[in-house]
């Protein structure tokens, strides 16, 4: 029985999978089992995995007979795992050699789930940002009332967490239309103690074919609306969980805010209402003010531009 299980679902990831496997197999912490679940890949990912599995006996390979998607694959991996501490892993990242060691050290200080910071790299491996937490404006959060902030946005990425085996009764099964790491963080934050390591211990790759392109900053309206819809789905699910009654207030504020936001993206009306609601939001989620500001500016800038251009044209034409 190993102490640590690393769960890695793969799907058509032959481009980056070797570098990831090299980095997770060479961890300074040795007592690890690797549970790799191939989600019915159609390229040569399977051959690469089998090559590694022959060389390293700690790797346990499983194959999905159909394409299950990330949620179900992680779920299966967690069910098959046996370690005390469970790490989730994405197929295109790079781990520092000491990641497992440091996170295990941290979790043994009495936490139930810990997460670390990430560096962000692009498809060529070039550094984009030193701190993922700063990029998504969650770097100044304290672990005291995380649940509240988790309603507004996910605060980290699934591949940066490490949690104890005893949590799995609470987090499984992952519902189908929810973002798995968000669900995980939310469920855990309701009941358990979460710790944070401010150091970046791995590199998170952002590229075109990311499975979860939630953080990728795309500015077209369709993508924004999709994200909001996903968010609302998640919120509805979160609201049905146990022990969420005391967060009812925040749920209501957020539902109202997102519905107005949908309206403003679609029709560019109700701006005053939108600003007003944003102020309310700022009051309740003060630590995420940067994130809220960013959204406001992105949503209303096109409208502002339109007004300015109109005024400028009027002046120019001398009407």
């Amino acid at each position: 029985m190993s102490k640590v299980s690393i769960i890695l679902p793969t799907y058509n990831g032959s481009q980056y999978i070797s570098s990831l496997l090299d980095s997770i197999l060479l961890q300074t912490y040795k007592d690890i089992e690797y549970i790799i679940i191939d989600d019915n890949s159609t390229d040569n990912t399977v051959q690469i995995l089998q090559g590694y599995a022959k060389k390293d006996l700690r790797i346990k390979l499983y194959f999905n007979p159909l394409n299950f998607g990330v949620n179900k694959s992680f779920e299966k991996g967690i069910m098959l795992s046996s370690g005390n501490y469970i790490f989730l892993c994405d197929q295109d990242d790079l781990w520092d050699k000491a990641k497992v060691e440091k996170l295990v050290h941290k979790i043994e200080c009495g936490y139930d789930l810990v997460y670390c910071d990430l560096r962000v790299i692009n498809s060529n491996g070039r550094l984009i940002a030193k701190s993922f937490q700063k990029l998504i404006y969650t770097d100044n959060l304290q672990s005291k009332n995380l649940t509240k902030y988790l309603l507004l946005r996910n605060i980290t990425n699934g591949c940066s967490v490490c949690f104890r085996r005893k949590l799995i009764d609470d987090i499984l099964p992952f519902p189908d239309d929810v973002i798995y790491d968000w669900w995980l963080m939310f469920k855990v934050s309701l009941k358990y103690k979460i710790g944070k390591l401010d150091k970046a211990l791995m590199s998170y790759r952002i590229h075109d074919s990311n499975a979860i392109g939630f953080y990728v900053i795309k500015k077209d309206d369709k993508c924004k609306l999709d994200n909001i819809q996903k968010h609302l789905n998640c919120l509805t699910l979160f609201g049905k969980q146990k022990n969420t009654l005391k967060y009812r207030k925040y749920f209501n504020i957020l539902f109202r805010f997102f519905h107005i936001r949908i309206h403003i993206i679609k029709h560019r009306t109700n701006i005053i209402k939108y600003y007003f609601d944003s102020v309310v939001l700022l009051k309740y989620f003060p630590r995420l003010y940067k994130y809220i500001f960013k959204n406001i500016i992105e949503d209303t800038l096109p409208k502002l531009y339109a007004v300015l251009i109109k005024i400028w044209l009027k002046r120019k034409m001398g009407v």
Partner: protein, 257 residues
């Protein structure tokens, strides 16, 4: 045909592939057939079995007729001298069936046998139980952790932890996740009781087999059973288990303490 293996699947697409893979990989030197009864799954279960496992007999039900009733269909169809009932989340790690069959051949008085069932990390699942009484069941199901701690000794006794799970023993209540029957005995008692939709049909059948034959726990081989997902939280499952509990006690007499 030596043994027929029957599996009842209901929305189990995550694990059924691995279960069947492990059977094909580990079960050798024994002639076997696999019968899967699908209880109206709404996910990809049927598709997976049809596409990937050609030599498996698949029976589709339009709706969920319950665990016992579905296994009865498979029991009627099975041609083997022995009949194995497993859950779709059982994974074989060695040729357990051969060992169990050898034991059954040598001891013709045994009608039902179950091996050691372990978690993926190798710890034992305490699935053999003594005769259930209402008090134990209520404590295990409905009370918070600190009350369970108060009655830990009692629950441990109910789960037969005092025996150590390291020798062959007669059991009153074996788990339905892995049961190996002798077909003749199974036919004599008429299969599962179809009044139970889910839960307690295993307690019922162990009880009835115990009356005409022996039900044993066999610790010298093990199979893997995946982590159980919380059925306590789901209200529908809770109701089903309540109904089954009442039916069980009505059938075998109410035993409160």
């Amino acid at each position: 045909m030596k043994i027929s293996i029957s599996i009842v699947s209901y929305n189990s697409d995550r694990v059924i592939g691995d279960c069947l893979d492990s059977i094909f990989k580990h079960i050798k030197n024994v002639q076997y057939e696999i019968i899967i009864v699908d209880n109206g799954s709404t996910d990809n279960t049927v598709k997976i079995i049809k596409n990937n496992f050609k030599n498996v007999k698949l029976i589709k039900n339009d709706k969920n007729i319950g665990f016992g009733a579905a296994h009865n269909i498979a029991i009627k169809l099975g041609k083997g001298k022995y009949h194995l009932v497993i859950n779709p989340d059982i994974i074989f790690t060695e040729n357990s069936i051969e060992k169990l069959l050898n034991f059954m051949e040598k001891n013709p008085d045994v009608g039902l046998i179950s091996p050691k069932i372990v978690f993926p990390d190798g710890t034992i699942q305490y699935l053999c139980k003594r005769l259930p009484c209402l008090f134990d069941l209520c404590i295990r199901r409905f009370t918070p952790g600190f009350i369970q701690k108060l009655f830990k000794k009692r629950i441990d006794f109910f789960e037969m932890k005092d025996t150590g799970y390291n020798k062959i023993m007669d059991v009153y209540y074996l788990s339905g996740s892995f049961m190996l029957f002798r077909k003749s005995v199974l036919e004599k008692i008429g299969g599962f009781d179809e009044n139970f939709f889910m839960y307690f049909e295993d307690a019922d059948i162990t009880h009835r087999i115990g009356e005409i034959s022996r039900a044993l726990f066999y610790p010298y081989t093990s199979v893997m059973h995946l982590w159980e997902r919380g059925s306590h939280e789901n209200i529908k499952l809770l109701l089903i288990s309540l109904v089954s509990t009442v039916k069980y006690f009505n059938k075998w007499g109410w035993k409160i303490f």
